[in-house]
Symmetry: C2
Subunit: 116 residues, 2 copies
Amino acid sequence: MEKDRCAVTIIHHDLIKRVEDKMISDSEAVDLAHFFKVFSDPTRVKILYVLGVQEMCVCDISYVLDVSQSAVSHQLKILRQARIVKNRRDGKVMYYSLDDDHIQSVLMKGLEHINE
Amino acid sequence: MEKDRCAVTIIHHDLIKRVEDKMISDSEAVDLAHFFKVFSDPTRVKILYVLGVQEMCVCDISYVLDVSQSAVSHQLKILRQARIVKNRRDGKVMYYSLDDDHIQSVLMKGLEHINE
DNA sequence: TGAACATATGAACATGTATTCATATTAAGG
DNA sequence: CCTTAATATGAATACATGTTCATATGTTCA
């Protein structure tokens, strides 16, 4: 990918300089995209939403969302790996909850936006 | 998909009732997921980030991000359709900018989260 | 220990998506 | 008008992703 694809015809050299100075790094952009990707699936959104109400076990979530136990479990794995939910075991039952308050506040920002 | 997959063994009938009352609708979950999906790609994140600094044209964006003009244009189409960016034409040049302030505030919430 | 239950997980499949390539559209200037 | 520049777009491709199905793991209790 050559940097000069528009070199002759670039419109605003000064603006480009300004933006380049403030530019986020590749890895920041990738991390940020990863973070938001977690919220980009309806099943995960619902899971996060109900966990925002209260801690729940896998079977309860599966029932409330009407999604198979396996599908829920797979999604919870993704949420765990992204450190967006945490879990605790009580006997056979595994309880899940939101890992921190940022999560709900991001969800709410999104809801604000779509309800306009 | 049967609703009774856990009917015999559900742990918390009371909690489930409470959650069901507060549950978001399917369409809300889908809309919300769609909204966040826009932020789930590094190229789009970068585009939104630079447009947060200032209005820019396609060629400038392509240069700053080191992404082909075509790829940028395709992503801008997605952002336009999601009403997350707006554009204005000035002769041959098309300028893009963020459609409203929610966008940047969502981005910033995300950045806060990953920088912890 | 063995049966029953809650959860996790790997493989397979179908669908979605980001980029590239080639080409179309739109506008300005000669 | 004809060329050139800026942007848009359709098709193709490669890759990611969500669900299902079958099965494994871990825990309780008789």
